[in-house]
């Protein structure tokens, strides 16, 4: 163990002395764990240190616009118009998913079935009790109590909320009109927990509650997740296969600057609340060396980081998408 440490330190020092770059990135909390893992492995192999910090998607956007970081990461993609105005390029970097989780006595993980419109109605407060006919219709045989539903949402602004609200808006016109999508929305009902941890903690504490958390939290906290019906009508659970299927069918090829929120992807076996995080970089960066070094890091992560990502419950981008991204780099980022 000690020898490993010394070896790592030696390599790091040598690499450091050899003029390794320190690249700074900031933004979405969603990708923080996987980027830090990729960065650690990359720095051991190649010496460049990519320091990514999670300050939120909004922070990522404003910092890259201010030029205080070499790349920003955001869960909410910028439109091509916005990108052009700031001279930024945008590309997806990793895939994750959001899962509804419940706390109902007698219900096991993966037992509850939801449809998009049902989730929207619950979070709109139109469905108030667990034994509502709408829920019962999808869940015959599940012991649903005659109890009020407590909706748990995020109290802080978050890309997770953005993707969740965007999905609800796609499947429910009422949600889209009344609430809309944003990193922070005016929730009609429910209580707010801080961070995914806060939501998970509240769902675990409050009986008959429902919440939404990133997939990694479902796994790490052993939560009772529900299945969601996708656009093909099948009930899919949050699995890596489901995420990859969704990513494969998302219309990336037609999205200029990858401007696409991939929830509710038209895949037969895809999980509908799959989302990706986007990296923002300057097309004509001030510090070309650091920008090039950052791109090399991302290239390595796309091609060799699958195991790391999987270990942390993320999904790497499919190879087709990676090729499209690399072509984009060649043409856009000088």
């Amino acid at each position: 163990m000690l020898r490993t440490i010394l070896a790592v330190m030696a390599v790091a020092t040598v690499a450091g002395a050899a003029g390794a770059e320190q690249i700074t990135g900031a933004g979405s909390t969603f990708v923080y764990p996987v980027l830090s893992k990729w960065s650690a492995d990359y720095s051991v192999k190649f010496g460049d240190k990519v320091n990514y910090q999670s300050i939120g998607s909004g922070g990522g956007i404003s910092q890259i616009k201010a030029g205080t970081v070499d790349f920003g990461a955001t869960d909410k993609p910028l439109s091509p118009v916005e990108l052009a105005a700031s001279g930024l390029a945008q590309f997806p970097v990793v895939i994750g998913a959001i899962s509804p989780v419940v706390n109902i006595a007698g219900v096991r993980p993966g037992q509850m079935k939801f449809s998009g419109p049902l989730l929207a109605d619950i979070y709109l407060g139109r469905i108030k009790k667990w034994n509502d006919p709408g829920i019962r219709a999808l869940n015959p045989g599940v012991p649903l109590p005659n109890a009020a539903i407590t909706c748990v949402h995020r109290s802080d602004g978050s890309g997770t909320t953005y993707n969740w609200a965007y999905y609800l808006g796609q499947v429910s016109p009422v949600w889209k009109a009344k609430v809309g999508a944003g990193t922070s929305v005016q929730w009609p009902v429910g209580v707010g927990g801080k961070g995914n941890e806060g939501v998970a903690a509240f769902v675990n504490q409050i009986p008959n509650s429902i919440g939404y958390v990133e997939y990694a939290y479902v796994i790490q906290n052993h939560m009772k997740y529900g299945l969601v019906r996708n656009s093909a009508g099948r009930f899919i659970g949050p699995t890596v296969a489901g995420f990859q299927a969704a990513a494969a069918t998302a219309h990336w090829a037609h999205a200029k600057d990858f401007f696409l929120v991939m929830t509710n992807a038209p895949s037969a076996a895809g999980y509908p609340i799959t989302a990706t995080t986007f990296v923002l970089m300057y097309k004509h960066p001030k510090n070309a060396a650091r920008s090039a070094a950052a791109l090399k890091f991302f290239k390595w992560s796309f091609e060799h980081g699958q195991a790391d990502a999987a270990a942390l419950d993320y999904v790497s981008l499919p190879p087709v998408l990676v090729k499209q991204i690399e072509r984009y780099w060649a043409t856009q980022i000088k």
């Binding site: 407590t150 109290s155 802080d156 809309g180 990193t183 929305v185 707010g192």
Partner: protein
């Protein structure tokens, strides 16, 4: 060597030593000292002015868009770009009030214990233990609050209060509501624990600084310990004690991390202390990094500016009250 006048009469011998210069011609050292310290005091003004101006500048867009309505609107819709500061301002005032109401008597009690009651060998350890509360990082208060205290409040405290205090007239509605644990009461309690050590530390120091002769004279006249404190120590240290309370109040008005975790960040106004609310610092902390439109960011910075205004008003009122108290006692404040 005798310089004094000859006691047998006759003129005194001529002075051989210059008498010390009178204070009026203070000399270069004094001028530099006064100038240096004055400059540092001016720096405080500059820093404060700079921060307030920066906040005003950043919040200008929000003030221009919403006007005075910003102050009493309880809207907060990031998607529809409608913002109002009422709920955060209310929450800031309420949680700080709860914190001060809880912390001041307890700090006072602890300071009395440490200076008058405790045997000498106990003073050090207990004093250090109380200071340990100040050493705990504020984010730990938030995390402990969220993961440990909130479940406790939800399971035991709030149901009990619902049954016993929620039924009382007038104050009942304040203490009844769904027992979810997060809310203004929980946040106020955690704030109270956080500011406790600051107020206690200063109170303990100043009580110890009261000249012993004053206290001993009072005891000689037959005062009990409590009378010595209330009639001698407190008046002597009144300004410092109030300073300690201001220190605590200031901390609670601006505390970010501890409150962010347990206040719930809800933008709806409700009378019940059990309901989630919002405070200015918590709103900024929860939403600033994810704010995705210029109006949103500007509204949050405007909230920051409003906190300066709220603090200004609260402190001005407190100082007025002090002035009035001082005049009643006939003392010059």
């Amino acid at each position: 060597m005798s310089i004094a006048s000859d006691e047998f009469g006759g003129p005194a011998p001529p002075r051989r030593f210059k008498s010390p210069a009178p204070e009026r011609s203070s000399g270069a050292g004094d001028t530099i000292f006064k100038g240096l310290t004055g400059a540092m005091a001016a720096l405080v003004l500059i820093v404060m002015g700079g921060a307030a101006l920066a906040m005003l500048w950043g919040g200008l867009l929000a003030f221009k868009t919403f006007g005075l309505r910003f102050l009493w609107s309880s809207d907060w819709d990031a998607v529809a770009h409608k913002f109002g500061a009422f709920v955060p301002i209310y929450g800031t005032l309420v949680t700080s009030a709860i914190a001060i109401v809880m912390a001041v008597p307890i700090s006072f009690g602890i300071a009395i214990f440490l200076t008058e009651l405790a045997p000498k060998w106990l003073r050090g350890p207990v004093g250090t233990a109380i200071e340990l509360l100040a050493a705990v990082p504020s984010i730990i208060y938030g995390m402990w609050g969220l993961f440990v205290f909130v479940p406790f409040v939800a399971t035991y405290l709030e149901p009990w209060m619902n049954d016993h205090v929620g039924t009382l007239p007038i104050i009942g509605p304040l203490f009844s509501g769904p027992p979810i644990g997060i809310g203004m009461l929980t946040a106020g309690t955690i704030l109270a624990i956080m500011i406790l050590p600051f107020i206690t530390a200063v109170m303990r120091d100043v009580f110890g600084a009261v000249p012993a002769e004053l206290k001993e004279s009072a005891v000689a006249l037959g005062s009990t310990t409590w009378e010595v404190i209330s009639h001698v120590s407190l008046p002597y240290t009144r300004s410092a004690v109030v300073g300690a309370i201001f220190l605590g109040l200031g901390r609670s008005l601006g505390e970010t991390m501890a409150v962010t975790f347990v206040l719930g960040n809800a933008h709806d106004f409700s009378l019940s202390l059990f309901m989630p609310g919002n405070s200015i610092a918590a709103a900024i902390a929860n939403e600033f990094t994810e704010a995705d439109s210029p109006l949103y960011v500007s509204s949050l910075i405007a909230l920051g500016f409003l906190l300066f205004v709220v603090t200004f008003i609260v402190l001005a009122l407190a100082k007025l009250m002090l002035l009035r108290l001082g005049r009643m006692e006939g003392a010059k404040t």
